[in-house]
Structure formats: C-alpha cells, structure tokens
C-alpha cells in the first residue's frame, strides 16, 4: 500500500472481484433499491438535511459499509479500498443522498491516515463516522495548494465558500496556523446551505469566525493525511461516477429496446445504436480506470497520483458525456423533470467539478508522463 497502514485482508488480482465483494455489492444494491429508490431520493431532495439519517446509520451499523478500508487496529474491519469502491459504485448508481463524499470519501480516509497515535478523541470520531452515527465533511485545497483558512492554534478563521456535505456534524479543515499547515476538526462555524445544481449532493458555505477547533495533525503528517484523503476520495468519487454512468447506459438501452418510432424500435437505427455503443465504451473505460486506481492505491502497484488522475480525468468526462447522450437517446422525455435522467446529469456535472476538474487532472498527468519524457528515437520524422 502506498501511504497508509498495511491491510489485513489479502487482495485479489487486479480487476478480479472476490465472491465476498459480489455479495457486498448485492447487499448494498438491495438495501438501496428498498430505501433509496427514485421516489425516496426525490423526496429527500426537498428536505432540510437532504438525506435520511436512519438509512445512513443502517449503512454504517447493520451493513457496515461506510468504512470498509479502515484497518482493524483503528477499529475497522480491515477490508480493502476495492471493497469500498464497490460500495461507492452502488451509492453512485442510486444517487444515494447523504455525506458520501465528505464522510466516506474524504474524512474517514483522512483520519485513517493519521494512524493509531492520533488520540482517543480522533479514534472515537472515526468510530462514529464508520458507524454512521455522526457525519463529517472535509475542506482542503486540491493539489497541495495552501489553505485560505487560518488557525490561532485552537480556533479557525476564514470563509469556505463551498464545502460538499458542509452541513455535517464535524468539519475536517486544512488551515495555516502559527506552525504552518495543520489539519483541524471543528463542530463550529456558521453553515449556510447553498442552492445546488445537484440537489442530491449538498453543499454549504462555512464562515469560520473564531470557531473552536482541535488540531489533528500538523506539518508532514497533515500533508500526508490530506493527500491520502484526496487520493482515496478521487477513487471513490470515480467509482460513484462509474455507478451513475452504468445506470444511465442501462436506462438508455431499455428505452432504445422499447421506444417505437417509424414503426420500429429506435435502437435498430444505427444513429442510435452507435451512440449507445460509444456510451458503452465510455462506461467501460471509466470502470477500468476507477478500479485500477482502487487496486493501485491498495497494493502500491502504480503511482497513486497518476492512477487517481487517470481515473478522475476519465470518469469525469465520460460520466458527463454518457449523461448528455442519455438525454439525447430519450428525446423529449429525457429533458423532463419527471424522468430520472436530469438527476444523474446534474450529478455528473457536479462530480466533474469536485476534487479537481478533468483538465486539472490532465495537467497532473502531463506533468507526470509528458514533461519528464525522454526521447527514444522511436518516432522518426521524414524530412523530405
């Protein structure tokens, strides 16, 4: 594993899912079909908190799927990031409302990266997040930029204009303090819910005006925790994107196989068929990159930053394209409020903007593979 505690469970070869992982997928899918179906998601969109805390607690408690990659010595089940990605894919397929990205994607991995020596309060917080009894959000600039929030040591100041899941119980915040970079936990701050494009993934504006905070880590340890959280978050967000894109492909296929125009199923027209074939390519590419990144972070088989950026650059673009194509395949109905496509479309656009845009990830890919490339003489150029 690249940069966190060694896992207990043996990892299967890349892209090979164990029977336990298949069972896990089935169990989560069944619960979500029952408790996060489209009607429920739409109802939750209209509520204040935006999610159902009882379902969240069930996912954490009964199913135990919110912190699968938490090592045993930190009170977790010692599963793998691949397990958690399988679950995230199902969350994304259902558009599960709730602090999926803030808590599962970012806060839990940040606390895991702090390790066993982080103190009992941190251990208790991690335990509560994993159990689904408390929630957390995470705010740190991407790609190692300096935070705008400042710290006095035990209080935070500054404004975070957009925090995903910013209404959560606890905020894990990167701040510049008297001794440089630090990672803090705060329950304070003035949180204002923002009106968002995607109503299933909430954001808040957070004003920290002397909000009491507890230092979790500083210096290199804070940097490491932030980097780990953002890598894991990138993988799990990519897995969510795969789940959503696959659901849209399924919807499009079902529609093209039933909708009749000119006396035939529209899927028999090559213009429609080829569009759907291309959607399939996009989904398969997304899946390959997301799970490669999950395996790479887990077993250290690839540069984690490269694997995550490939996954994020691919999944962000492909999910959006598949969503736009899904509107097109459905024609007018795909543009209506009643049809589920717009919920996914808005999620796709939102996800693409979180944790670094596709362009930002391509920039990192270029830095890793193009800027440093050495010529081999393989590509010859004719000189006339």
């Amino acid at each position: 594993m690249a940069d966190t505690a060694v896992q207990e469970e043996a990892l299967s070869p890349e892209f090979v899912f164990t029977s336990e992982q298949k069972d896990l997928r089935k169990a989560v899918r069944e619960l979500l079909a029952d408790r996060a179906d489209e009607a429920t998601v739409r109802a939750l969109m209209e509520t204040g908190s935006g999610y159902d805390p009882q379902v969240w607690a069930r996912l954490g408690g009964e199913l135990g799927v919110l912190g699968l990659a938490v090592p045993e010595e930190l009170g977790g089940v010692g599963g793998t990031l691949v397990d958690q990605a399988v679950v995230a894919e199902e969350f994304g397929a259902a558009l599960l409302p709730g602090p999926v990205l803030g808590t599962v994607g970012l806060a839990i991995p940040a606390l895991v990266a702090l390790g066993a020596g982080a103190g009992s309060e941190t251990a208790e917080l991690l335990e509560a997040l994993v159990a689904g009894t408390r929630t957390a959000a995470f705010a740190a600039p991407e790609f190692g930029a300096a935070p705008q929030v400042t710290s006095t040591g035990d209080a935070l100041n500054g404004t975070l204009s957009q925090v995903v899941d910013g209404g959560a119980d606890v905020l894990i915040v990167a701040a510049t303090g008297p001794d440089g970079l630090g990672l803090y936990a705060t329950e304070g701050g003035e949180r204002s819910r923002l009106s968002t494009l995607d109503q299933t993934r909430r954001q808040a504006r957070v004003v920290l005006d002397g909000a009491p905070a507890r230092l979790l880590a500083s210096g290199a340890a804070a940097e490491k925790a932030i980097a780990h959280a953002q890598r894991v978050g990138g993988v799990l967000l990519a897995a969510e994107q795969v789940g959503g894109a696959q659901r849209l492909l399924d919807l499009s296929l079902a529609y093209a196989n039933t909708r009749l125009q000119f006396g035939r199923k529209i899927g028999s027209f090559q213009a429609v068929k080829h569009r759907i074939a291309d959607m399939f390519v996009l989904v398969e590419h997304a899946r390959s990159t997301a799970y490669h990144a999950a395996w790479a972070l887990q077993d250290g088989s690839d540069d984690p930053d490269l694997a995550v950026s490939v996954a994020q650059a691919t999944c962000s673009e492909n999910y959006q394209k598949v969503a736009a194509d899904t509107v097109q395949v459905h024609g007018g109905i795909g543009f209506t409020w009643e049809h589920p496509t717009h919920l996914y479309y808005k999620r796709a656009v939102t996800d693409a903007a979180l944790l670094g845009s596709a362009a930002a990830h391509r920039d990192r890919i270029a830095a890793l593979v193009l800027d440093t490339a050495e010529p081999t003489g393989r590509a010859t150029v004719a000189q006339g």
Binding site: P13, E14, F15, V16, L253, A256, N257, R264, K265, G267, S268, F269, Q270, K273, H274, I276, A277, D278, F280, V281, E284, H285, A286, R287, S288, T289, Y291, H292, V310, A313, T314, A359, R362, D363, I365, A366, V369, L370, A373, E374, P375, T376, G377, R378, A379, T380, V381, A382, Q383, G384
Partner: protein, 393 residues
Amino acid sequence: MDDSARVEKAARQVVETHDPKKVPLREFLGACYDAGVSWVHFPEGLGGLGVSRGLQAVADEILQGAGGMNPFAINPIGHGMAAPTVLEHAQGDLAAQLLRPLASTEHIWCQLFSEPGAGSDLAGLATSAVKDGDEWVINGQKVWTSLAHRARYALLLARSDPDAFKHKGLTYFVMDMQAPGVETRPLRQMTGQAEFNEVYMTDVRIPDSYRLGAVGDGWRVAMTTLMNERSSIGGSSSVRGVGAIGDAVDLWAARPDLRTPVLRDKLAALWTKAEAQRLTDQRARRSAGAGSPGPEGSIAKVVSAELNQAVYAFCMELLGPEATLYGDYTLRDIGRMEDYRGGVQQRFLRAQANTIEGGTSDVLRNVIGERVLGLPGDLRADSGKPWKEIPRG
C-alpha cells in the same frame, strides 16, 4: 510435472538444441513445432502440447528471451489465423501436412476473403467454386490480400451455391498460390506502399481434399478465422505507453521547440484515453483468463483504431509544416508488416486504414450494439432471398 513446467521444459530444450542466434530461422521455428511450443494448446504432434492456451506466454518468454523471432511477425495470417482454422476443419492428414511448414515460415499464408463487391458484407462474396469430379474450379477476384505475393497457401472463401441464402452457399478451401490461373498484383495504397494485393483466379483447380469443413459450411469455418483476426488486431500491449501513443510521447520528448500548452493538454487527453483502453484490455484478459469473457473485450478494435488515427493526427499537428514532408513514395518490395511503418507522416497515412481493416468501425459498432448490448438489428434488404437475387454493386 504440471502443464506449465512441461511447456517450460519443452521451450528450454528448443533453445538449448536450436539456439535461435545460431541456427537459421526456419530450423529454429521448425524445432519449436516439433517440441509442441508453436501453439501449446494444439494437440501433440501438430505443434502443440494439448495444454491451456494461456501457457503460450510461458513458451514465448523463453523462446523470444533467447533471441527467437516471433513467427507472427513473419507469417501473421498463417500463424494467427490459418493454423487454428486448418487444425479445426481440415480433413484427413491435411493438417499434419500443412502445419509444420507453416510454423517454420517456409510457407507464408494469405487470406482470400474480401472482394471488390464484398467488404463489410463479406457473406455476399461472388468468387465461384464449381465442383468438377474430385476438384473444384475457382473463378473470381479477391482484394486487400496481405502477403499474397509471398504466400504459398491461401485461405479461400468462395460461393459454391448461388441459389442458396448468402451465408449458406459458401465453401472454404486451402488454395495453392502457385497453382495455374492464380495471378497476384500489388495494390498500392495511399502511403505509396503495397502491403496488400489483388488476386485474380481464372479456372484455378483445387482438390476436394483441400476443402475445410463441409460444402456450404464455409461461413462457419470463416468465423474461426475471423475471431482469431479480431483478437490479433485488437489486443493492445499490456505495457504502458507503447504503440501509437508511445510514438507521440517520443515526438513530444524529442521536440520541445514545438510544445504549446494547448497541445500538451491534447496529448494528455490522448494519453489518458490510451491508458483507459490499455487497462480495459487488461481487464478483458483477466476476465477471459478466469473463463468468463466479459463484454469489455469487444471494444478494443474500435477504440484502438480511432485512437491510432487521433494520435497520429496529433503528431502531424505538432509537427506543423514539417508534417507536410514525406519520406518516399517509391514502391518497395519489403517483407515484414512492420517494415511498412516509415516516418510519422507515413504512420499517419497508414492509420487511416485502421478503422476499415479487420472490420470497419461502423460495422463493429453494430456488433457491439446488437451482440453485446442486445439492441435490435437494422432492417435488411437481403434477408430471405437467395444470394443471386440480392442487388449488388
């Protein structure tokens, strides 16, 4: 001894007794055949050891590691497509007679499938096969035939019954390219080179014993060949950053004077897509290796063909005015496929064929839509009619 150890032992014996750096190529490859490591999944005595196909990698690593040439590079159609087709469908001792010289590359093979009037709609082909005693008489024209000018044998698909439905009236043969009435002409392509040929057949006689499969069963036999073609064209390397994208990165590295931020983002996007497809190929191999090939394997050819074009188009854009220069349009007679690569400008032109050869991207998208995703077929103007009543042109 388990199968893997058997393969390893056989391959090691070949390189010990026939050091590929010392003995002539055909002798080395002939020894591979005799030892059963040409196609390890073939039966013993016919170039194989009767073990799992996946173990070929074990043999190849040893053989190529010792400096042995991959026969696929010299005899791609013979080694990759003819051999499995002959093994599965040849009568009597024909396979035993044909496979060893094929494996040693003494006999190069070609494939006579496409015709001027039958490209994507291969089953509509018109070359006729008429039975005459113990022989068949062949008349017609084939096109896009790689290596025909060097080939000793051809895989031939011909129409034996024009009154049958088009897929039902075909019969499959092995044809001797040195038989009277076979004429091969180079087909020059936009690169200036001629990787392909036209082959004209005028009253060519083929013994009935060289028929593969039953009379009228040619389409099914051809599927054996084509399945092997798609997998050999589609499967990209498991190594990151080789192939077309490797050329582009190499050019990028060699020419810092041409870099701009916009081109950098373009190349990063192409690299990312190539990486996504490489990972998808790996995933497909994993699921195929686990005995349950997934649908992801079907996209390799479509994606890699279009990616090659996009990558070489990028190289041309990067080069600016230099892209408008060219090496040489002189037609040369060269042996191996890879010798046709030339400079980046030639590779760019060559890539334009990628979305056509081995199944056009248009048809492959139909295949993905219909066979992989289960979408309904298009309306067809040729269904339910005997071949001779189908409009052609």
